[in-house]
Each structure stands twice: as C-alpha cells, then as structure tokens.
Symmetry: C2
Subunit: 195 residues, 2 copies
Amino acid sequence: MTHVSIIGKGNMGQAISAVATQGGNTVELFDTTDKDRPVTGELVVLAVPYPALSQVLAERGDQLAGKVVVDITNPLNFETFDSLVVPADGSAAAELAEKLPEAKVVKAFNTTFAATVATGQAGEVPTTVLIAGDDVEAKELLAGVVSQGGLRAVDAGSLKRARELEAVGFLQLTLAAGEKIAWTGGFGLSETPAA
Amino acid sequence: MTHVSIIGKGNMGQAISAVATQGGNTVELFDTTDKDRPVTGELVVLAVPYPALSQVLAERGDQLAGKVVVDITNPLNFETFDSLVVPADGSAAAELAEKLPEAKVVKAFNTTFAATVATGQAGEVPTTVLIAGDDVEAKELLAGVVSQGGLRAVDAGSLKRARELEAVGFLQLTLAAGEKIAWTGGFGLSETPAA
C-alpha cells in the first residue's frame, strides 16, 4: 500500500485520486488553500497546471525532499497553442528536477486526458500511463499505483524522455483543441505487453 | 487519381506503395540504382532513412520543384537511441523544406511502423497517418491517397508540428526497441472523426 498525496483538486487530481484509491492505496488531497497542511505521502502528485508549479514549490519545496514527485504538466503556451514555454532541449520535468534535487521526480499522466484516466479507456484501447524518470524504484512505485488502479503503466525511459512525453502531450492537446480527436481518446498505446 | 513516386524500396516504401495502389493511384518505385530515371509523380515520397536524404537531394533536388514531397524520416541517433540528430527546436522536415524551397514539404508516416501501414491496424486500432505541413492542398492530396488506401489521415497542423511528430516517432522507436510495445502496434489515435 502506498500513501499518496495529490496537490490539485481539478479533473486530473480527482481522476488520479480515484485510480489510487481503487488500487487500495490511501490518498490525501490538497488544494491551494491547504498550504499550511504538510504533505505526508511518499508519492506526491503535483496535479496542477504548469504555471502553478512555482507556487507549489515556494510553499512546499522543503516537504518534497526524499519523496517521489510526479509532474503531470504540459507546459504549453496556451495563448498561441503553437509552442512550449520550456527550452526546446529541456522539459518541465527537467526544470522541476533541478529545483528539487532531493526529490525523485518522474513524469507521468501528461499524455492522458482526464477522462481517459477516469474511465480507463482512451477511445477503443485501455489507457496507458507513460512514466519517465531516472530513479527505477520511483517509477516502479508509481507504476504499481497505476496498474493496481486498473490502468496500464509503461516505463518510457529516463527523465530525458520527458521532453518527448511533453511533445506528445502538446500534440495531443492541439489535436483535441482542433477537434481532430476527442477528449475521451487521444494517443493510445496498442499491444503493450501484460504488466 | 494521383501519380505517386516513391523513392526507397524498403519496408516503408513497399507498404506506402501498396496503400497508394489500393486506392487506385498509379505508383512508380525507385531505389538508389535508379538515379538516372527522373521522378514523374506529383506526390513524391522519400521513403529512405534520414542519413540517405542528402544523397536523394543531391541526385534529384532539381526534379522536386513544384511537387509535394513527403518526409517520413525519424532522425534518431541510432547508436545511442537517446537523442535526435537535428536541432532541438527544429526537425528533419524543416531542414528538408529549407533545402527544397520550391517543393511543398509535408511530414507523414514517421509515427506509423511499416507493419501498421501494411495491415491498416496499429494493434487494436486502425492505423492513423499524422500529416504536418504548411500547404493545405499538399496535405489534402496526401490525405486523399492515405484514406483511399484504407488508412486514417489526420491533419496535425503546420510543418512546425513535425518537431512533435518526430518526438512521437522517436519515443515510439525507443519503446519498441525496449520491447515495451510491439512493432505491429505503437501509438494509435483513438476516436478520430470520420474522414
């Protein structure tokens, strides 16, 4: 059993909370008014939009040392929908890891729309959560929570691959905003091996 | 009916040739020994690996003026499988467009493994060809060939989105090489609207 802290009560925070709970884990949910209540989970999901990360770090950075910290953000320029706001050779996850040197940062859930996390289906295929990170045990902890909750988890490699995951998330958001795909679908990974 | 020239007789060239033929289009296939035979198609697919593009341009660059040129490459560093060999803020397609200012360059088929082009299925879902480019008519010409041949075609936006398509292709190749997904599957796009 994993004790999971989720910061953010939006669609993604709620959907990830349901997945974790369904797998028999304990969950504590936070929003921005809870800043005086410290996180106690070993796994902390930052279920906030990219622009809100800096505030979370300012309020809770010290509490995150030693923990597995999950970055789910897509750092889009939401005015233009035509670029990311992080350096082309970097990622939001890499920025976060640099600011939290004592945490184990993993990238996940940025390529899965909230509806697909909630239902377990990305259109016709089961929802797959792609996980990138440099700490194998951290990835395994998250993958356990994901698969116990009924979703597929796939190890996407080192934290360097967060750059590609953020490109996938970016492309998927532009396709949905342009009505090329549904918000209940998106990129599904077919034929993954059994977990 | 579209007259299609395909340079490259590998798995991708053959699979794309079969799609085009199935849709009732005419196809001429070339390999590297055919350099003295000019391309005559209005749609030219460069079905060669990224390192071979420069040779194709040297031999046929002049023949490509005015044509729709399809770049299917994934410019990976195949020694490390850990990075692309194009600039982080660019793409192979952008490089190609710069070298072929009189052609209409589109990016496509780099996110579909050859087996999924050949069978029309990416695992459990129909194969989707993502197409990026700046010329709307060029994209529509290719989309017609793709959909007449039984695959789904989705407009992924401007040629700038080739960067994200190449990130998807890169990630997909690393997942398959790492046996996380099958070469008959990969990223499928669920719930695309009817063509």
